[in-house]
Symmetry: C2
Subunit: 121 residues, 2 copies
């Protein structure tokens, strides 16, 4: 189940970030869709309202994990803000019956300097 | 393996956040210990240098996930900054042979207002 959930969550994420919000919900999301990102309203309409914020940016998924009905993505975004180094982002999705029904995220601007040489990824 | 890794990573996290850095490394961590938090140097010494930042704060672990050799914690911190609402944090640990050997995190201050009623957790 976890591997299938990974595929579903990644397909949903890519569709949304490419601006195909209606397709994303039709194919991969359930109702209700609970949103925990404080800038976004619940459901498909919440994502439709902010989708240009995502499509004007670009995302590189670095790692995908799954545990039961949850899928976790660790990604490097550019263009969500003016920060030239971009943001480190973790998204957590909960699925029910193969549909994405809940989303949390944590977003941090990547600082200019670091105490180590390993990058945030 | 994943369930055992959860126990190890949580025990390591709690020991470090309670200020028992040497115990944490003796019992639960390997060498080298690669650090991706840009404020912290690699290894035990890196955590020893910033440990009062953690012990002056408090943490509530909300969710723990594991996928193979990775463990992911989603937590609500208070006291890492002056933000009265605290921070949403995701930590990712990689384990090798039952020892924690690599750490990433993403930290976001919780904003005063939200577009939904679901909280960041």
């Amino acid at each position: 189940m976890s591997e299938t959930n990974k595929d579903i969550a990644v397909a949903f994420y890519k569709a949304v970030t490419e601006g195909r919000v209606e397709d994303a919900f039709l194919l991969y999301a359930g109702t209700p869709y609970l949103q925990h990102n404080p800038l976004i309203e619940d459901g498909m309409e919440g994502l439709r309202k902010i989708v240009t914020w995502l499509t004007d940016a670009r995302c590189e998924i670095k790692r995908v994990f799954a545990d039961g009905d949850h899928v976790i993505l660790h990604s490097h975004w550019h263009g969500l803000s003016d920060n030239p180094r971009g943001e480190a982002v973790v998204d957590i999705f909960r699925l029910e019956g193969g549909k994405v029904v809940e989303h949390w995220d944590v977003i941090q601007p990547i600082p200019e300097t670091s105490a180590n040489i390993n990058t945030m990824f």
